[in-house]
Symmetry: C2
Subunit: 364 residues, 2 copies
């Protein structure tokens, strides 16, 4: 029986609770005898800063490198609003992404039928929605240098961030998008601002080339990022796979997530390249943030975290059947009426984080 | 009687048609004896490129500098997809914004009651929506240097764009936002990504300072740009004035526009600083683009262009009453059932561009 090493990084805010909910499901998975999971737990973000003075300790980074996959809860919160830029909780997550070269961020935006009513959009526009956003995660304005604030002679300041993309960076994320599209509807939309940004010009050029040379049987559409944001609101079902850069991906994936009415339900995967032995580094985390306002109250929805575990089974361990079973258990629990507060609707009597996790585990 | 010099730049696609519609209203305004309007017409964008080999001729720029206000239709279209980067139609518009130092882009997102049903969002979420987006328009990644594509030794490429903001640039746009908020609900939200971008750190710092020193009686909220995009979809009415940088403003204002269900109805103003004689450079244009797919068919909605004229009366000439009358005429024409195809709804019999403009002129 295969054995996998998982590193759990619960993080801040509701992170520890949703990670606890996932643990319930993980225990059930272990009992099924599907695989052995060895788990270690460590700190990241504000909690790491409080304990070690940095948002990601070197020892934690080493553990992340040694693990077969990482499951992260969430980072950040108002408690750390005043800390120095290098030490903000988010820096821990960004360092993990960069050092492990997790360049491909997969963010499915799925509208669960039971929750279509919770969307701000009219039901017919979102029912059945199933978009896969492929966001470049280790390049662009997040990491480009110079990135600095300098003080001018008159005492005023000047801030600079640099958006950089190379052919190689765009090529590899394009391959991920087209490979995924090949297993889905065969349609890819690529979003940039080539009418204003040189990185957008190169992005469009490289995606066009990768398509022509390797995936001519698939459909490719180029769309300006501002128009893409509009179209996501107007008619989201026109999209299947949507590939874009780090910053546009941050915004567009959040819009897509919100459309589904299921923000607390959406998982994500951040993947590295496949190495010679067929393995790839990977980190899985909910799309939602640390939600400090409800932290510690057993209110948070653990489904995004549990869904992240399902993505881990699928993308890191090739356990597609188990992943399907887990996704099915989530759907069954929802159909059975299980609801946390975020998706309960008016008048309903919501359950807590742990009860929801148990409902999914039972359905499994 | 005051006399004003207007430069009309119809541009590309549906630009000439909607500008023609606006001309109908302008003629009616002239008849009222409110003011004298002297108009000149010139080329910008693809049409300028076709005629002069550049998307904004120097002579046109000079005319723009000499005018009291500029009214622009739209630029761009697939016809010019292959032209060199420096000559793309958008470059004409960007040069105008930059050379005239039109740093403050005001984009109202208003949901007309008669059109609430046309929104993708549920009616109760958008009915009565009235957001003023204040977008910085002459800084950030649109204009920062370096902005280039270089070829590396192995033949692959590297593209760079640079986001730059100075204290002075942020201060002046913050003042515009707070001044507007003072005449509205008194609430400003400022959107950036200070958790990832140094320009976001400076943005937040400067906006906070301007608020504390000059507008302590107004309410200021800081919001991350990705979360702002989400909140616009989830609960748009939480916002009143929203101030943000050039790139986030591009995306967020498009989302807000789409929410209203009235994209073809929304005007915008791009304003410079007020000079010693109390005058300010200004350009007014619809938020919608050049819509080449329907160009030349008398189908386009001229209301955004007519609304841009109303903003011109208000912000450039201080003719608030006339602007109110024109805005009222738009509302009346709509209440009277006037509909172009974009807002007609299924089964309705839409009118053309000119008929819609005439309906507004008649209501005036
Ligand atoms: C926490 C933050 C740094 C992060 C980002 O901007 O990438 C988050 O918004 C995300 O989308 O994962
Ligand atoms: C045409 C284009 C250059 C422009 C922009 O990106 O600013 C447009 O999208 C806008 O929002 O006015």
């Amino acid at each position: 029986m295969a054995s996998y090493k998982l590193l759990l990084l619960p993080g801040d805010g509701i992170g520890p609770e949703v990670a606890g909910g996932m643990q319930v499901v993980l225990d059930t998975l272990k009992e099924t005898g599907l695989a052995t999971f060895e788990t270690e737990t460590d700190l990241v973000g504000g909690s790491a800063l409080d304990a070690h003075g940095v948002p990601l300790a070197d020892a934690t980074l080493q553990r992340a490198k040694d693990a077969d996959a990482i499951l992260l809860g969430a980072v950040g919160g108002p408690k750390w609003a005043g800390v120095a830029y290098e030490n903000r909780p988010e820096a821990g997550l960004l360092r993990l992404r960069k050092e492990l070269d997790l360049f491909a961020n997969l963010r499915p935006a799925i509208c669960y039928p039971a929750l279509a009513e919770a969307s701000a959009l009219k039901r017919e526009l979102v029912e059945g929605l199933d978009i896969m956003i492929v966001r470049e995660l280790t390049g662009g304005v997040y990491f480009g240098e110079p990135k600095e604030i300098t003080t001018l002679e008159d005492g005023s300041k000047r801030a600079v961030d640099t958006q950089v993309y190379t052919t190689a960076e765009i090529e590899r994320i394009a391959h991920v998008a087209f490979d995924l599209a090949g297993k889905r509807s065969g349609r890819v939309a690529s979003a940039e601002k080539h009418n204003v940004m040189k990185s957008g010009v190169l992005w469009k050029e490289v995606v066009t080339k990768v398509h022509a040379e390797h995936y001519a049987d698939l459909q490719l559409e180029h769309i300006l990022a501002d128009n893409c944001a509009m179209q996501l609101v107007r008619r989201p079902k026109q999209f299947d796979v949507l590939v874009t850069d780090n910053l546009f991906g941050d915004v567009l994936s959040d819009i897509a997530a919100m459309l589904t009415g299921s923000l607390g339900m959406l998982p994500s995967a951040s993947l590295g390249a496949v190495d010679a032995s067929g393995l790839r580094r990977a980190l899985y985390e909910p799309v939602h943030g640390s939600a400090p306002d409800i932290a510690g109250q057993d209110k948070a929805n653990p489904i995004a975290m549990i869904g992240s575990l399902a993505m881990c089974l699928r993308y890191s361990f090739g356990l597609g059947d188990a992943a399907d079973a887990l996704d099915g258990a989530i759907t069954d629990a929802l159909s059975g009426g299980a609801r946390t507060a975020d998706i309960a609707g008016a008048g309903a009597n919501p359950m807590g984080t742990r009860a929801m996790a148990t409902a999914v585990a039972d359905a499994l």
